[in-house]
């Protein structure tokens, strides 16, 4: 379970100008829950994810993971980056087994874990490929497998499909759901896409569109999975979320 308690973040720009990015954000995420943080660009949602990851420290407030405060980056949280951030000098296998290796597991075990997750994300047969030989969707599959390979307590995904075309994006959302159903984890998924949020989330937390980012509302999505992107209830909720976010812009 993850708690963000009154997290605020202010960046200091050149010339000591203060830029408030997050203001008093509190979010609770239950074990194995899929929470989507939905907000427009420049709303501080990626910063919130980086704070949970431990890559940034909050100016005030704290993040508690299973009762212990987060003080820095660590292998108990898996982060999937918007820009894939694969190691171009490593093969698919090399990228995915990096985490277990850095955590000091024996070589054979690293390989087995990596092969398991490469298989899970549907990249069996591509272990020896280098990232530049893969399409965008396949690269992000590697990114997901790499984050999964450390068996993290929480998966953090930062607009993972933002660089993909619309069709591939929908396909990857379906894949994300399949992978999550197979290997259940707590997930915090950041996006600016309402459809993506509604398709994947147990719960959606919307962030206001102006800096500093504040929690606007929380929506519980209780539609049966897999969801129909054109179903009646789906479209109603979509309308509700879009209306609410447009008003604040």
């Amino acid at each position: 379970m993850i708690e963000c308690r009154n997290v605020s973040k202010t960046f200091i720009q050149k010339g000591s100008q203060e830029v408030p990015v997050l203001d008093d954000v509190s979010i609770d995420v239950q074990a194995n829950e899929f929470v989507v943080i939905l907000g427009p660009g420049q709303s501080g949602k990626s910063t919130l994810l980086r704070i949970i990851a431990g890559l940034e420290t909050p100016t005030t407030g704290s993040v508690i993971l299973d009762g212990e405060p987060v003080t820095g980056p660590g292998a108990d949280r898996g982060l999937v980056f918007q820009g894939y951030m694969l190691f171009p000098w490593k093969t698919v296998l090399g990228n995915v087994e990096m985490g277990p290796k850095l955590c000091g597991l024996p070589k054979d075990e690293c390989r087995d874990i990596a092969m398991h997750y490469i298989d899970l994300v549907g990249l069996k047969g591509f272990e020896k490929h280098y990232p530049h030989q893969l399409s965008g969707g396949m690269k992000q599959r590697v990114g997901i497998a790499r984050a999964y390979a450390n068996k993290p307590r929480v998966m953090l995904l930062d607009e993972p499909f933002g660089q993909l075309d619309a069709q591939t994006r929908i396909f990857m959302e379906q894949e994300t759901e399949r992978i999550w159903q197979t290997d259940r984890r707590t997930v915090i998924f950041v996006t600016n896409n309402t459809d993506e949020a509604l398709f994947l989330a147990d719960r959606i937390v919307t962030i206001e569109g102006k800096l500093p980012g504040r929690v606007q509302r929380t929506y519980t999505v209780d539609l049966p999975r897999p969801r129909d992107l054109t179903g009646k209830r789906f479209l109603e909720m979509r309308r509700e979320i879009i209306d609410a976010s447009v008003l604040t812009l």
Partner: protein, 292 residues
């Protein structure tokens, strides 16, 4: 399939000229033969040698036969040099003399400058100490050191190697330094999120990410090394390809001068190929990215 379609649709675009991967499986025609890449290569090479031979034969450049040797004369001169000794060495001996100087100087410079460049990028104290000295040295052309190095080390091997070390040090260091500085910073985040420490960031991100830049520096250094060895040999030497060129000049034998120039080009090209081969071996990921 879609790529081929766009290529034919936009065949007049400059992008296709530079990409050069358009494969057209149309029927053979005169135009296609005339515009074939290899045909054009042959035409330009033949035209070059023909023009050279004509210029040399017709004395356009004046001065009779001593101004410009004809291609076959250069070839004959090289055969003579390969068989007969000049200053107690055949052509191969001179090639080896120059190559040995280049390889020695280049290796010394690379062995010091590359690690130093990496250290400068990784540690700001090392950076603060080394950088001002380096900036002082950087704009000085290495050839300006020739006279002082002869005063210090005499006209033997040391002074020539010294010039090469000075000349190749700068690009080796700069490229290693910039290679680390230009690493995508989020890659460090990846390592730390996967459970790595600072040591892992350096080992798994800094070093591999700076490899292509280091090799670019080595390639630049190598061509500078050849320039330096030639300059040093022109000033004072009893062996080497620069010595052959000077001898050709003193003996009024243009064939010998041009022959020496051609052999230098071939030797420099050979060493470049070696570094390229090493790079391909060590960075298999880079080749396809650069589209080489």
């Amino acid at each position: 399939m879609s790529q081929e379609a766009t290529c034919t649709a936009a065949s007049s675009s400059i992008a296709n000229e530079t990409v050069g991967q358009v494969v057209d499986h149309g029927p053979l025609s005169l135009v296609r033969i005339l515009t074939n890449r290899w045909f054009l290569h042959t035409v330009s090479i033949v035209a070059f040698f023909w023009t050279w031979d004509w210029l040399a034969g017709s004395n356009v450049l004046g001065g009779g036969s001593s101004a410009l040797a004809r291609p076959h004369e250069v070839l004959e001169q090289l055969v003579v040099l390969a068989r007969e000794e000049l200053a107690e060495l055949t052509l191969w001996g001179h090639v080896w003399a120059s190559t040995r100087r280049v390889v020695t100087g280049f290796s010394i410079a690379a062995a010091i400058a590359v690690p130093l460049g990496l250290f400068m990028a990784l540690n700001r104290y090392v950076n603060a100490i080394v950088k001002p000295l380096f900036d002082l040295l950087k704009p000085m052309p290495p050839i300006s050191w020739i006279s002082i190095s002869i005063l210090w080390f005499g006209i033997g091997e040391t002074s020539k190697v010294f010039i090469i070390v000075l000349g190749t040090f700068v690009p080796c260091l700069l490229n290693a330094y910039n290679g680390v500085r230009l690493v995508e910073p989020e890659l460090y985040d990846v390592v730390r999120m996967l459970g790595g420490k600072r040591r892992d960031e350096i080992l798994h991100v800094c070093f591999p990410a700076s490899f292509p830049a280091i090799f670019a520096g080595l390639q630049i250094s190598l061509s500078i090394a050849w320039t330096c060895v030639l300059a040093a040999e022109l000033v004072s030497a009893r062996s080497g390809l620069g010595y052959i060129i000077v001898q050709g000049m003193n003996l009024s034998q243009p064939a010998m001068v041009i022959g020496g120039m051609a052999v230098i080009a071939a030797a420099a090209w050979g060493t470049t190929l070696l570094v390229t081969a090493l790079e391909r071996k060590l960075c298999p990921w880079k080749r396809k990215i650069a589209g080489l």
